[in-house]
């Protein structure tokens, strides 16, 4: 037992006051002549012992009441339970809210250990203790700013309301903030965080605390810091053909300082396991793991890559949404005036569709449907019925057609612009550039002799489009065998333009510009068979199919978003949506807004997701219909590196801030006890005083 004001314990001598007063009153006794001596003497003789003990108990109780009151003013603290409560001290608590603190062994994370210690700490603070709580997460803030403790339950409730956020934090900045809080006061600062090197970077630049500040660092131990994380998951296309194989890719990174061997990576489609692979990674390295996937039903699906448990379970899974469709409709716009042989892309695409459908005349009802449009008039309605429009190079381009094509793209269409030797580049630049349908300015078109030495070949490793990466391996067709004797050279692409495929010399073959909905794919060569070898190479068919499927997915909003990125989806079903909800994993769904658009209702969750995981957008129609759209929220894994600060740096910080480092609640209590502090026992003493006072009153009642 210790006391906040031990000097007040001299006041215990005041316990003698009731006894002194009692006997002083003896000298102020009233005198009375008494005749009933006999009875008085008899009462004294027969009850002398009882009178004696009654008096002893009564005076003892009175003395105890006074002494308990004095003890209460001295603010007793239990050293056994061990906590700080020196009066006039501001207690500042900093809680690291980053998810690296979720690392742990078994079911107990470091955050669990830290929060247990924090709860233990605040539960021992007495009423009126002044404290502040700083939550260091994605939005650092003072949760409690020099407030007074009302009771332990309320303080614990405040502590329990703190949640981890998927964000990296700077403990150096947090420490700087709390050290500049309540300056001039006697302070005790409690830092509940891990020893993550990246979070503590720069802490040595923080100004050291003054002499009135005592710092405790509660840093739960972590023995095994091996941590693999899924850093991204992507499908070949956000829209795929039902029943067709495609590849999903999971990127894995080893964030630890040692190699990880044979970690199991499992792929799941709609939470059903479809395959697994073993991953071995050196420290700090990344690998992209492909997995062949096939979706047998049309609709929205979720692909998840999940690693076996390691130190940090939070970053072991990541998801992406994919839509499977029954078919992709392609419209090839050809100029009726162009009658040369092989001038149209349509025959080549139709051939690819037949091969995809299994040959014969099945292409009409197969997954890829190709239609040729040769009329001069080209209304918007004729275009929007198709997923992809291919503008053949020889097509006469008018300003009206350029505007119609832009409208088509704005409504979610995928426009493919192959540049062949029939293109009038000047017209294209003049008409398509103003409507922003050229991802890059075409500089010139080179024509070389067919079967000559000078040609362009596609690169085997130059595919940025995941859907085309299958072609890199040659399993689905060796695209390097394709030769182009006519090709365009582009200027610098505009912002947001991505290269889907490149020639072997690194120059772009396919450039894509994506709008909010809809996209334009600019090809450096024609898809017809005019001046290339596409007609004689079967390996071109998977390439063309993938290219068309990729172009068709332009209609979709993205199914893979970053943290905080707005989520949008165009509801184009038969019934108008009446409500929508957005939810990540098992979190409470949040309402999404409905924005009327000319082409339908856009469902929007502008705030974006706060954490990574499988997310879904549930759209409720006005006819008891609903549609669930899956998507994956993919954070940047900024906080997955669990590497601890170096020993030298740790020692430097300890010397700088003079803190006491502990690992859990018990060590914290022990540290505080050894620091000469105790748990507030004020209430107990007051209770004891009340008991004594009640006893004194009861004793008094006995005499009535």
């Amino acid at each position: 037992m210790t006391f906040a004001y031990p000097g007040l314990l001299w006041g215990l001598l005041l316990g003698a006051i009731p006894i002194i007063v009692y006997y002083l009153m003896r000298f102020r006794s009233l005198r009375v002549y008494w005749g009933a001596d006999y009875i008085l003497e008899r009462a004294l003789a027969r009850r002398r012992k009882q009178l004696y003990w009654d008096l002893i108990v009564l005076l003892t109780l009175r003395a105890l009441v006074v002494m308990a009151l004095v003890t209460a003013f001295a603010r007793p603290q239990s050293r056994k339970a061990g906590l700080v409560t020196t009066d006039g001290v501001l207690r500042v608590v900093l809680v690291d809210g980053s998810y690296s603190l979720l690392a742990g062994e078994g079911r107990h994370s470091r955050r669990d250990v830290a929060m247990e210690a924090l709860r233990e700490l605040v539960s021992r603070w007495g009423r009126g203790v002044k404290w502040s709580l700083y939550a260091l997460d994605g939005h650092p803030r003072w949760v409690v700013d020099q407030g007074d403790v009302v009771n332990a339950e309320r303080s614990i409730a405040i502590v329990d309301s703190l949640k981890s956020e998927e964000a990296s934090v700077s403990l150096a900045a947090g420490l700087d903030t709390v050290l500049s809080h309540g300056t001039g006061m006697r302070r005790e600062i409690y830092i509940f965080s891990d020893d993550q090197a990246s979070a503590w970077a720069g802490a040595d630049k923080v100004k050291a605390a003054d002499a009135n500040t005592r710092i405790f660092w509660i840093n739960p131990a972590l023995a095994d810091r091996r941590n693999l994380a899924v850093t991204s998951v992507e499908a070949g296309h956000e829209r795929v053909l039902r029943g067709q194989n495609f590849t999903a890719y999971a990127q894995i990174r080893n964030f630890s300082q040692e190699a990880v061997r044979d970690a199991e990576l499992t792929f799941l489609v709609d939470n059903a396991r479809v395959g697994a692979k073993r991953v071995t990674l050196p420290p700090g390295q990344s690998v992209t793991v492909p997995m062949k996937v096939r979706l047998d039903t049309a609709g929205s699906h979720l692909i998840t890559a999940r690693l076996s448990d390691d130190a940090l379970a939070f970053d072991n899974a990541m998801s992406v949404g994919v839509e499977a469709v029954n078919s992709v409709s392609v419209l090839v716009l050809r100029d009726a005036a162009q009658t040369e042989k092989f001038v149209s892309s349509a025959p080549q695409l139709q051939l690819a569709a037949r091969v995809l459908a299994g040959g014969g005349a099945k292409e009409a009802s197969g997954p890829l449907r190709v239609t040729e449009h040769v009329n001069a008039a080209c209304p918007l309605g004729a275009l929007t019925a198709h997923d992809v429009v291919v503008l053949d190079g020889g097509r006469t381009l008018t300003p009206e057609l350029a505007k119609t094509l832009r409208s088509y793209v704005d409504q979610g269409g995928g426009l493919v612009l192959p540049v062949d030797d029939t293109v009038d580049l000047a017209v294209w630049k003049r008409l398509l550039a103003p409507v922003e349908l050229l991802p890059a300015p075409p500089l010139r078109v080179r024509n070389e002799r067919l079967d000559g030495e000078v040609c362009r070949r596609l690169s085997r490793s130059g595919f940025d489009l995941p859907g085309l990466r299958d072609l890199e391996t040659g399993t689905d067709g060796d695209v390097t065998q394709l030769r182009f004797y006519t090709w365009a050279e582009f200027g610098n692409p505009g912002p947001g333009v991505e290269a889907l495929a490149r020639f072997a010399d690194g120059t772009p073959f396919a450039l894509k510009r994506r709008f909010e909905r809809g996209s334009v794919v600019l090809l450096a060569a024609g898809l017809n068979s005019r001046n290339n070898n596409l007609m004689v190479r079967e390996s071109v068919y998977p390439f063309l199919v993938n290219l068309m499927v990729e172009a068709s997915s332009a209609e979709q909003y993205v199914r893979r978003v970053k943290l905080g990125e707005p989520v949008r989806f165009m509801a184009r079903g038969g019934t108008a949506p009446v409500a929508a909800q957005f939810a990540v994993e098992e979190d409470e769904p949040l309402p999404a807004s409905l924005v009327p658009q000319p082409q339908g209702t856009r469902v929007e969750f502008a705030a974006g997701a706060k954490r990574s995981g499988a997310a879904s957008l549930l759209v409720l129609g006005d006819n008891n219909t609903h549609e669930r759209v899956w998507l994956g929220v993919q954070g940047d894994r900024d906080d997955s590196d669990l590497s601890s600060v170096t020993t030298a740096y740790r020692e430097q910080l300890k010397e700088q801030f003079g803190w006491t480092e502990v690992g859990n609640a018990k060590e914290l209590m022990d540290a505080l006890e050894s620091d000469g502090r105790g748990t507030e026992r004020y209430a107990w003493v007051m209770f004891a005083m009340l008991v004594f006072a009640m006893g004194e009153i009861l004793m008094g009642l006995r005499f009535v």
Partner: protein, 305 residues
């Protein structure tokens, strides 16, 4: 609590006019047969001249012939004489406790004054019905003995004795009882008036002896209100009235409960003893009206209660 100033006892205050008025129509009768020299209203142990026939007795030589019941003698062929119950005057002796404890005074009138008033009232009552009354009390070791008399001057003598003597010594009642027992007295009524604040054994023994001699004993107790209720809640110094120089300085808060228990037990002891030995027991407080209490008692007594 401050001692209340004692009202001085005078002839007038001992038996004021209103007391005499209140007692004028009351009568006191002996319950037992008594012995008296004078003819009176009370039944005598002796058989003699009277109008109330008692029984027949076989004639013995020396019996007055005028008492022979000739009708009965003729019927039984032997002589019988009539016997009559002789009415005699009641002889009441007032035994007054004049011990110092009687001086206790907390209600405006001291226990002694109340005792004196009670004594005077009884004497007045007895003399009013032409019975004789005497008084015994002890003062400073000497017994004050007023022989029985039925003259009106007896009342004056009694009152003068009460006024002049006052309460003084410690064991006066026991001494007075012993003085009566030492003398041969006719059967009569003994009225003991005291606060009873002493060891009861000696007095009880004396009363029992009086009863054994055929006296009817009445025990009148005068209580002091403070001694009865112990109305103190602080340190008090109790100076003994009976033993000068003896004092107790006490915290009455814890003591009060025990004292009251003791007092109650003591009083119950007296009542039980009186009930057991057929002693009429009347207890009044010093601040009550002596005449009223006496009236109620005599009424109860007349009804056989």
């Amino acid at each position: 609590m401050a001692q209340v100033t004692e009202q001085k006892l005078t002839l007038e205050t001992a038996l004021p006019a209103e007391a005499r008025d209140a007692l004028r129509y009351l009568e006191i009768y002996a319950r037992k047969a008594v012995e008296g020299l004078l003819h009176g209203a009370h039944r005598s142990r002796r058989k003699g001249v009277s109008t109330e026939f008692d029984h027949h007795k076989q004639y013995m030589p020396g019996d007055p012939l005028k008492h022979v019941d000739w009708k009965v003698s003729a019927r039984h062929d032997r002589f019988y004489v009539k016997r009559y119950i002789e009415d005699t005057a009641l002889n009441v002796r007032l035994i007054v406790d004049s011990s110092a404890s009687q001086r206790q005074s907390t209600a405006g009138i001291s226990v002694w004054n109340q005792s004196a008033r009670m004594t005077a009232s009884l004497a007045y009552l007895v003399l009013l019905q032409r019975d004789s009354v005497g008084m015994v009390m002890t003062n400073s070791g000497q017994t004050v003995w007023l022989p029985s008399s039925s003259t009106q001057t007896q009342l004056v003598r009694i009152l003068q004795s009460l006024v002049t003597v006052g309460a003084s010594n410690a064991d006066s009642l026991e001494t007075s009882l012993r003085a009566i027992l030492d003398r041969k007295t006719r059967r009569g009524m003994m009225v003991v008036i005291s606060d009873l604040m002493f060891d009861p054994e000696g007095v009880r023994l004396g009363i029992r002896k009086l009863q054994a001699r055929g006296h009817e004993v009445l025990l009148f107790q005068v209580r002091d209100p403070a001694a009865e209720t112990f109305p103190y809640n602080r340190w008090m110094q109790f100076d003994s009235l009976e033993r000068p120089g003896v004092r107790w300085r006490l915290d009455t808060v814890p003591l009060k409960r025990f004292y009251l228990e003791e007092y109650r037990e003591f009083m119950e002891g007296w009542k039980a003893w009186a009930r057991k030995h057929d002693v009429h027991f009347l207890s009044i407080r010093s601040d009550e009206s002596a005449e009223t209490a006496l009236s109620e008692y005599l009424a109860r007594r007349a009804d056989g209660g």
